[in-house]
Symmetry: C2
C-alpha cells in the first residue's frame, strides 16, 4: 500500500500542522495501492489480464456487435459513460447509472444494489441483459470458440484446463483485467502519506467537514464507500426525480421491507470524473449531489461554504487514470456468428447496473 | 519507406528465385512507411496527434454521448466495426459499410465515393450525419469549449491562433491522429523488401494470379487501391444484394451518367481483418468477395485454386496494427452541454461513409 514518493515526505514531517487531521483521516481511509488482488484471492496473471482486456474492449461480445464493456465503462471517462442511464441494445435506456469499474476491485460487492459478489459475477450480467448487450452465454462462447486468437488466449490464461473457453473463464479474465484498473496516487493519497502541500487549505477544510458532518460514516475505507448498504433517504426521502419510486434497490433482491431503497454506499474515488450522480443519474453537479446527500442521509442543511469545501475535497480523490493500450482483437472466421440483424425484436430484458 | 529488417535481407539475395515476381510487384506496389504525411502537406505534430486521439475516442462528440469515431472505426478490429453497415444514432442503420481509417492517409480521397478530399474533410462528415453521431458543429464546439482540458489541448496543437477551438481544427487534429494509424511491416512488405520466406508458395502464386488476372489494375500502389474510381460492375452487374440498386455511388455527387455505380477502388491493406466486404457489407467471406470482383470487374470465372491463392495472398497485406493508449479524456464542467435526451426525435439525416 505504500506510496514511495509520499512515504519519504511523511517521515520528514513529524510536526506537520496537518498531523491531527491526518491522524483522524488515517483511522478512516486508506490509500489506493498500485496493484490490487481480487477479494476472491484468485491469482491475477498477465495472460488473464491480456485476455480480459480483449474481452472488455470487444463489441462482438454483444449480440449486435455494437456494445462492449468499454461502451458504458469508458476507461477514458473515469470508467463511466457520462449518461444519466446507459443506452444499450436497440437504443433502449437502462434503469440505472453506469457505475465505474475503476477501483471496483475494492468494493465489497458489485452493482448499485451489491447483488453480485465480485467482479467475475458482475461481468456475467451486462452481457446477457436485454437492455445492454443482449447476448446469451451460448452465442458468446460460439463467438469466442470461432476465433483462434481467442482460443489461444484462453489456453494461455487458463493453462491445464481441457476446455478453457467457458463463460466462467470469460468472467474471470475480465475480473483479472479490472483488477488492474486502479487509480493510485491521488492528491488525497499523497497528503495522507504525508505531503502537506498535496491538498489546498480549502480541501483540508473539506476533509474535516466530510468527517465531522458524518459523510465518512458510510463513505470510508480505501474506496470511500462500496462496503455497506444503507437506505437512500435515511433521514429524509430525496426528491422522487433523484430517487425514482419504482426503483426500490435491494428490496428487489431480498423482498425484505427494511431493504426498501437500500443501495450500496457509492464509492467516491474519482467522483469528480463520474457525473451524473446517484443510481438515477439525475444530478450533474457534484456540489448539488453533496447537498442532497447531507439532507437525505444526515438531515443536515450544509452551509454554502461547507458544501463547496467538501466538493473541493472530493476532487482530491481523482487518482492516476489507467493507461491501457487498446488491444488488437482476434480475427473473425467463417464460423463466427454474425451480428444479430438490426431488425430483430428488441427484447424486454433486465438491466444489469 | 525503407524497412530496415527487410532491406538488409534484400541486399543479400540477388539471385533469389523470387526476383522476377518481386520485380513485377515492385512496379505496382509500395511498402507502407512507418510514418506518413497527409497529402495536404499539413504538419503532423505530437500535440495535434494527442488532441486528435482524444477527439477520436470521445463519445461526447456525438449528440447522444454514445458514439465516437472509434465506434465505427475500431482500432482493435482493423479500423472497422465488423457490421454490414454501421449502427448509429437512435439505432439507425447507415447505408454503407464502415471503411477502415488504417492507412487511409494513403488514399487519394475519402469515403466509398471519394467525396471528401482528405481526412480532415472526412472527419467533418460522420459527426454531423443524422444516422451516425447526429451532432452540429455548434454543439460540438460548445462541448469542447466547456472543458479546460480540451481548450488547453487545442491551444497546444494550434499555437498562435487566437481561437483555436474550431470545427476546422477539430478535423485537422483528427487528420493528424489518423495519419499515425498506418500498418507497416506486413508479410507482403517484408517479402517485397527481399525476405523470400515472408510469404508461402501459395501466397506467391496468389500474388502472381492477382497481377495476371488484372486485380492490380485498380488495386495497386502503397494501399492496394484507394486511388481511382471505377464502376462496380465494369463487365457484369453484381447481384443486387451486393450492389443495391438504390446506391448509385458517385452519381449521387456528380449527377453524371457515367458515374452510375462508380466507387473508389477499395484499398486492400488489412483486408483479411475488415469483413464484411463491399460498400453494402453483404459478403462476409473474402474468397467469395474475390470471386465476385473477378466476375464483375474482369469478366473472369476464377478457378477454385486461383481464388484460394489470391485470398491467401491478400492475407499477407495485414500489417502491424497500431498500438494506441486509450486517451484519458478531459473532464466535463457545469457548462458542458448535456447528452441529448434519448426520447428526442431521430432525424432523417444523411450518412457519411
Amino acid at each position: 500500500m505504500a506510496n514511495p514518493e509520499a512515504t519519504a515526505e511523511a517521515a520528514g514531517e513529524p510536526d506537520s500542522p496537518d498531523a491531527e487531521l491526518r491522524a483522524q483521516a488515517a483511522e478512516l481511509f486508506e490509500d489506493i495501492p498500485r496493484a490490487a488482488e481480487p477479494p476472491s484471492g484468485r491469482p491475477v496473471t498477465r495472460a488473464k489480464v491480456d485476455l480480459g482486456a480483449m474481452l472488455f474492449f470487444d463489441p462482438r461480445m454483444s449480440v449486435s456487435g455494437v456494445f462492449s464493456c468499454q461502451s458504458c465503462h469508458n476507461i477514458g471517462i473515469g470508467g463511466t459513460d457520462q449518461l444519466e442511464t446507459s443506452i444499450g441494445h436497440g437504443w433502449q435506456q437502462g434503469p440505472r447509472n453506469s457505475p465505474t469499474m475503476l477501483n471496483a476491485v475494492f468494493n465489497a460487492a458489485q452493482f448499485w444494489d451489491g447483488r453480485a459478489e465480485d467482479l467475475a459475477e458482475q461481468a456475467k450480467g451486462p452481457v446477457q441483459a436485454g437492455v445492454e448487450m443482449n447476448n446469451t452465454p451460448e452465442n458468446l462462447i460460439a463467438t469466442l470458440e470461432s476465433m483462434p486468437g481467442y482460443v489461444e488466449a484462453f489456453k494461455a490464461a487458463f493453462p491445464g484446463e481441457e476446455n478453457p473457453v467457458t463463460f466462467d473463464n470469460f468472467a474471470l479474465a475480465i475480473e483479472a483485467f479490472e483488477t488492474t484498473l486502479v487509480t493510485p496516487n491521488s492528491r488525497f493519497d499523497q497528503w495522507l502519506m504525508g505531503m502537506d502541500g498535496a491538498m489546498t487549505e480549502q480541501e483540508k477544510r473539506g476533509l474535516a467537514a466530510y468527517m465531522d458532518a458524518g459523510c465518512s460514516t458510510c463513505h470510508a475505507g480505501v474506496n470511500f464507500g462500496g462496503q455497506e448498504y444503507y437506505p437512500f433517504g435515511l433521514v429524509e426521502a430525496p426528491d422522487p426525480e433523484v430517487r425514482p419510486e419504482g426503483d426500490v434497490g435491494r428490496y428487489q433482491i431480498t423482498q425484505t421491507e427494511e431493504d426498501q431503497y437500500v443501495f450500496r454506499a457509492a464509492p467516491l474515488r474519482n467522483v469528480a470524473l463520474t457525473a451524473p450522480y446517484f443510481h438515477s443519474g439525475q444530478v450533474w453537479d457534484l456540489e448539488e449531489a453533496v447537498r442532497i446527500m447531507a439532507n437525505a442521509q444526515l438531515g443536515t442543511e450544509l452551509a454554502e461554504e461547507q458544501a463547496q469545501d467538501i466538493t473541493a475535497f472530493l476532487g482530491t480523490l481523482t487518482g492516476e487514470q489507467p493507461q491501457v493500450i487498446h488491444p488488437t482483437l482476434p480475427v473473425r472466421t467463417g464460423s463466427t456468428p454474425l451480428p444479430a440483424p438490426i431488425q430483430q425484436d428488441v427484447g424486454e430484458g433486465k438491466a444489469a447496473d
